[in-house]
């Protein structure tokens, strides 16, 4: 928090650009490490603020990694948002661009398949780790965990729109709060 604006922008870049390259299986997988860097290492946000930002990023349209844009904005305003966004999305954009450019010439089916199948266990481990970290971070104790598990089950068993589930989560918590006030 005591960093100068200039240092903040450089720190945002230094934190998010390397993370960008390890977001295999989508941005979801990096949330555990984003949480560690933002809350523990740099103390840009409190754990509660981080969970709030995570919730907002799930309610907003577009890629979930826009969480990083929101963090950048909270740390260093407009330029913070721009730098954080470019840091998290930029490096992999050059990578996919280069691959799109080369892919058509190169056969290499075995290499492609090894890449796809080989990265699967890593991606699964990372997404599960992020979920674990979020479950630890969330307020509301066992009640919140029960809501999370109910949401998981619903998603696995039905084709419900995830946004409706998030709405239900809000309604349940606000409703519970109203009752306990009464």
């Amino acid at each position: 928090m005591s960093e100068s604006p200039h240092t903040s922008l450089l720190s945002l870049l230094a934190v998010f650009a390397p993370l960008s390259l390890v977001t295999i299986g989508g941005g979801q997988s990096a949330i555990a490490d984003i949480n560690r860097q933002v809350v523990d290492v740099h103390q840009w946000l409190s754990q509660a603020q981080f969970v709030d930002a995570f919730a907002i990023s799930r309610m907003a349209p577009g890629p979930g990694s826009l969480l990083v844009t929101l963090i950048g904005w909270q740390v260093a305003g407009f330029w913070g948002a721009v730098v954080a966004t470019l840091a998290i999305f930029g490096p992999t954009t050059f990578l996919i661009y280069a691959v799109a450019h080369m892919w058509s010439r190169n056969g290499g089916a075995r290499w492609k398949r090894a890449l796809e199948t080989g990265l699967r266990p890593v991606a699964a481990g990372m997404i599960l780790a992020s979920t674990y970290v979020l479950l630890q971070a969330i307020d509301g104790g066992w009640f919140a965990r029960a809501v999370a598990l109910a949401s998981t089950a619903t998603l696995l068993l039905t084709r419900v729109n995830p946004l409706h589930l998030i709405g239900a989560g809000v309604a349940i918590f606000v409703g519970l709060h109203a009752i306990s006030l009464a």
């Binding site: 709030d52 266990p121 989560g169």
Partner: protein
């Protein structure tokens, strides 16, 4: 006489509008299905095979799948200009929306109810994260090495708090090398 089934390329502005619309109406996943419907089935700008190749590459490479896919599709359709349009169209409009939402919520943050509502949203969203994790875990081959790599990644990141970058570099290298060798 009959035209071959060559998909025709769109103009830059059409392409930008399609990406922006998909970006602003996509919530919590399922975007690949959207892209397939728009680009292959409705507009016939590319073949299904071309699309599916792009999809598997987008998923295998690091980076948000939707963004990778947008850059891939844009590049196939309009070269480097298309790639830029894909990136900007899929990232910038929702980035503006999220900052606006963040502003609204932070101006409401003095009310305790705001944090309670967001906690409820986060709890449900963690469920989304877990269901994705379970789906991803189901796709892992039921063999000792891939399962150990998955478990090792989980332990290193969630319990030991090792830096993700090095964990993924090491685990990814071992896993891809193993898969490549095992395929022979």
């Amino acid at each position: 006489m009959s035209e071959p089934e060559t998909p025709s390329a769109p103009s830059c502005s059409r392409l930008f509008l399609v990406f922006t619309r998909i970006a602003l109406t996509s919530f919590g996943g399922g975007v690949s299905g959207w892209l397939l419907r728009e680009f292959v089935q409705n507009r016939k700008w590319m073949t299904q095979e071309e699309f599916l190749n792009g999809l598997s590459i987008s998923q295998a490479l690091p980076g948000v799948n939707v963004k990778n896919m947008a850059v891939w599709i844009g590049y196939r359709l309009l070269g480097w200009r298309g790639a830029v349009i894909g990136f900007v169209g899929i990232i910038v409009p929702p980035a503006i929306v999220i900052v606006l939402l963040g502003t609204v919520f932070s101006s409401l943050s003095r009310y305790p109810l705001t944090h309670i509502a967001l906690t409820g949203a986060a709890a449900a969203a963690v469920g989304l994260s877990l269901s994705m994790g379970i789906t991803a875990a189901r796709a892992v081959p039921r063999k000792a090495v891939p399962i150990s790599i998955m478990a090792g990644t989980f332990i290193a990141v969630a319990l030991l708090h090792w830096p993700l970058f090095w964990v993924v570099l090491a685990a990814g290298f071992v896993s891809v090398a193993y898969t490549y060798a095992a395929a022979s």
